[in-house]
Subunit: 344 residues, 2 copies
């Protein structure tokens, strides 16, 4: 790929940079894998929710993912208490493992901290991390703590599965598209905190809880993989944007049926006019987005807990193009902007 020097990464954007990195690393990954090439085979490389390697001597595939949150960029003390930050930092990684159909296993925690950080805040951070690890059977086995003028938390997580991982690259025209639960709640909770409504109540509390304590869909992911679903990712940047990424990876387009998109009653109550935009474009819900042929989809959806819904279909077309249709068949214009880590 051509690029002028000294181009800044802000001009290139996150996804342009990711493409370059994939190119830069691809060749190196073709080299022999030490004396343990008999132990592992890399089955999913850069670019999916997680990478995967299969142990040749055991019927298991291991998954690898990492996710970072930076103070002032991905969180602020005002909207995310330390305990919830710990929960969320692990949750986003567990969700990547869920999207592959696996279970979480081993976590490494890296903290960059200013020296004036309070010990009690770090205690709260670990309380949140250990709470979600207990619930999801993950283990914090190590990490690194370093001084940094900017606070950040990086979690690296392995997962494990005995089934073939679900991929972003497996969607095909004719597939139905579904989500494993309601979307928009987390974005609604963030908006409630940034612009508190006149009255608060159970509905606003529910949305704040969705933002602060997302619950990754590990059980749902295992059900889907067992039901024969081969194409999935998690919803972290918003349903429409993440579907665009899945479609780009698979070389397909998609239509979303706005009238079918599941949102919680709380979201519709607190945001009676905006709820569908929040459901379409809000992020951090950590439900699963998946596609499958109609018969597989019917069988899979029946096995999921309530809240899952078919929301559209994969089509031929310019890869990554998402059309949103209103219930009357009219086209719904784009109501929000995607998030880019470097230009956004």
């Amino acid at each position: 790929m051509l690029y002028s020097i000294p181009m800044r990464i802000s001009e290139l954007g996150e996804f342009g940079l990711i493409s370059l990195v994939q190119e830069w690393t691809r060749d190196a990954n073709d080299s022999p894998w030490g004396s343990f090439s008999d132990a592992y085979r890399l089955t999913v490389d850069n670019g999916d929710d997680a990478a995967a390697a299969t142990f040749l001597s055991a019927p298991v595939t291991e998954l690898y993912t990492t996710d970072t949150m930076v103070d002032g960029i991905h969180f602020t003390a005002a909207t995310t208490p330390w305990r919830d930050l710990g929960w969320k930092a692990i949750a986003s990684n567990i969700s990547d493992v869920a999207a592959m159909g696996g279970e979480s296993a081993v976590a490494l925690i890296t903290l960059g901290l200013p020296p004036e950080t309070r010990v009690s805040d770090i205690r709260d951070l670990y309380a949140g991390m250990t709470a979600i690890c207990r619930e999801y059977g993950a283990r914090i086995v190590g990490g690194d703590m370093v001084r940094s003028p900017t606070a950040f938390i990086t979690v690296a997580l392995t997962g494990i599965t005995k089934q073939d991982p679900m991929l972003r690259t497996s969607a095909a025209p004719g597939h139905r598209i579904a989500v494993s639960g309601p979307v928009g709640g987390s974005a609604g909770g963030l908006r409630v905190m940034l612009n508190p409504p006149g009255s608060s109540g159970a509905a606003t509390e529910t949305l704040i809880e969705r933002h602060r304590r997302p619950r990754p869909h590990i059980a749902e992911g295992r059900i889907l993989a067992a039901a024969g679903v081969r194409s999935a990712m998690d919803v972290s940047d918003g349903l429409a944007d993440d579907l665009g990424k899945l479609c780009t990876a698979s070389g397909v387009a998609a239509t979303l049926w706005a009238g079918n998109i599941p949102a919680e009653p709380a979201l519709q109550e607190v945001f009676p006019t905006d709820w569908l935009d929040l459901a379409l474009y809000g992020g951090e819900d950590y439900v699963l987005l998946f596609t499958a042929p109609p018969a597989t989809m019917d069988a899979a959806i029946r096995q999921l807990p309530p809240g899952a819904a078919v929301v559209g279909e994969i089509t031929h077309g310019q890869p990554g193009t998402i059309s949103v249709l209103n219930p009357d068949g009219s086209s719904r214009p784009r109501g929000g902007a995607g998030w880019d880590h470097f230009t956004g």
Copy 2:
């Protein structure tokens, strides 16, 4: 452990904070390990160079480690070009795997970058990372790139071994202490760059190369584990300080024989008066520090490449206490200070 709130982490120090974190995570790790408790057993928890889990259905142990470098704290553009930064960020992790006796396998790369970062710098960074990965058979399979006012790079690496990992907790009185190669070269190289000597030449170039392109001792680690060595760590913070950590972990003390400590001719040439202090207290050499009973040690040392040397012995005494003896038997006073990530 008692601590007053709001104590700052700078008052507690890195190792005080690490102790608290180990306490906070220990209980959570006793919880059941999802439905895959039949697949894994956690064999080395927090506190060693790497954590380890054994696959019950396969004769392999997997290792997990992570290490972070922050701009202005662990590196500066002046002393570490981007390409070398990439090499070093991976090298410190490979060295942790070497210290356990393993081989490196799967790497996840997280970059925190200011938007004004040049794309060409990131290209150079990846060139350094893929160069060392090729040489050591590791693979970059994924990662995360985020905006951050402070640049940082976090590498998480898995390793693999078919032997029992070497541990920091296995040193015992009567063991000989050895290093797998010369020490002090990296610190010498850093000093040369920060305070350039009047004349430069092959010796200063050698030292700069030691600082910028450390070569982890993977082959040496495998030889040691196969030779029956059970106690090892890598030298990242300096020989004397790292030996102190190993002794603390094992509940023993140690004597270092200053006259036996191997240093490169280049270090002695460029720093004729200070070379031994650099060898004792300089960091980032990434050789292995290991201990074993005399007979095991003799056999192990014979199999290592030239440069390895016995440098002392493990003793009874206040855990973590290191005495340095001059060749005439006199005690050598401490010549340097340890590095603490939060107070230092």
